[in-house]
């Protein structure tokens, strides 16, 4: 499996996550979103950018409270909660947003 990005095929796993995380470019997010019939707006991008920054630093996706707090700071307190994040990413902010951001899927008892 794979997705076409800038004329190049990037390999993805069974669940649509990038196999090689280093291959991520911003276009990946848009193309993956299109596959889910979603159009990304700037708020989506705030989340995606934060996920990438956090992953760069800690090598793992942020915990839900870390994410909501950060988004609350960036987009306003009314948006710093998981309800808003689920509005943005209906399949779950942890999983869907991580996929678009080129992070590995968080798995465990979550």
């Amino acid at each position: 499996m794979g997705i076409e990005v800038n004329g190049k095929t990037l390999e993805t796993d069974e669940e649509g996550y990038l196999t090689n995380l280093n291959e991520w470019v911003p276009e990946v997010a848009g193309i993956m979103a299109k596959l889910d019939d979603t159009e990304l707006n700037e708020n989506h991008w705030e989340v995606i950018n934060f996920l990438r920054e956090y992953y760069e630093e800690y090598q793992i996706a942020p915990a839900v409270r870390v994410l909501t707090k950060a988004i609350g700071k960036k987009l306003g307190k009314d948006k710093g909660n998981s309800k808003y994040l689920y509005e943005l990413f209906p399949y779950g902010p942890g999983k869907q947003a991580c996929k678009y951001a080129g992070l590995p899927k968080p798995t465990g008892c979550v």
Partner: protein, 512 residues
Amino acid sequence: MADFEVPELKETLDIPKYVDGVMAHSAPYTAKAEFQEALGFPGELPENWQQVALEKMTDLRTRYRSFQVYLDICVKCGACTDKCHYYIGTADPKNMPVARQDLLRKVYRRYFTFAGKYFPKLVGAVDLTKEVLDDWYSYYHQCSQCRRCSVYCPYGIDTAEISMAAREIMDSISIGQKYCNEILGKVFVIGNNLGLPQRALADTLEGLEEEVEEDTGVAVKFPLDQKGAEILLVPPSADFFAEPHVDGLIGYAKVFHEAGASWTMSSYASEAGNFGMFIGSYEVMQKAALRIRKAAIDLGVKRIIFGECGHAWRVAYAFLNTLAGPFDFLDPRYPVPQHICEYTYDLIQKNRLKFNKSENDHMTLTFHDSCNVARATRMGDKPGGQFDIPRAIIKAACNNYVDMPADTIGEATFCCAGGGGILTDDLMEIRVKGALPRMQALKTVSVEDGVTHMAAICAICKSQFTKVIPYYGFTMDQIVSVHQLVSNALVLTGATGENDSSENDEGNTEKE
């Protein structure tokens, strides 16, 4: 919302008429060779795979007397047929526990019994073929090892043990489940199921300290890797990561704070759950359990307490001493290990915690008994403590509590349908369908008693329910942690804001 038919909630729960093969397509992703090999399993299907599988079956029959007995003693009485939530939710007859067991039993008969060797057709014995193996992979991953069927079996046959054995036999010939086996890899490399490294844990906990202090004005600590602490708390890693789990973790921290306890978590053993049990591997389960022993020794703690995690509590309560004991370096005055609910309950009994129950008045609660806690463990020193203690805690913290119907709770509890390695997106259909009986029971108390929220003490239950209840018309925020309720209502000494109304009569002068 779903690419499968979601069962309908009716007035009562119907036992469906069986429909052959409706779930035969369900199978989770398989683990890649590198993950299999990391756990000591082969990465490729051996050429003589039948022989290897049968040898493994013999090995397990020899090691576990129970497994041998279960293969021999079923009389096909049918008492279990309508007891499995996956059968009730799917109508696939291979999800009847007896039929699930027979997938393995018919191969056992063929190779290891006189009648099966010479008259296979007469006794329903079959060769181990690729088709049989595919059926194993599909249907042994439609069992959450919840053991409800075994409660009703007059012989006490435990399908969970058969399903664990089946998964171990499959692993022995390279066929493993991606979800479980990749997660076990993360436990051994990083220390927890989620793969949260020490720095991320520290950052997350620091954030929680800030959050609680902002909310309450009290500096509640979330210590990590603190040598010399008295108590090692081992929570499921979902408690750091997900909602409503993290609200439970905040609850534990507040309880420890009010008790004046010296406690810590460990980044090395930052996982209570032990997926080694799901795949039936004693060796893998032991390796995971030994991490907790090592952390306890390295940190020099005197007590070990487990967080809200159902399968963890089974491994901890039933197997920890055998797997990783003796724990003679711990304080003998306390049980090894303890459950966080036992700890909190004890403080409530001693009148050391004060609650402002009205903080939870916007909810009417019910409690979901987690399968492994209910049917494989106990809490406290009385029979049924695993049912009474969590309820007593909820009632100490909340004014409004109602039980679900009696045949759906206690030892008859229905699994959340995500346990035993089923909590993965590639099994969403079986997760949603298997949740039907619990959803039906929740609907009953919602309609009749106005229940608004369901509390649980297992990371898997909480994640599974938040994910599947929207399919049944509920909302994900209706699932709460038991210690979240404690957190809401616990009056912290010196708190600011609404919580401080009764701070004058704390009764907590005898701090530890």
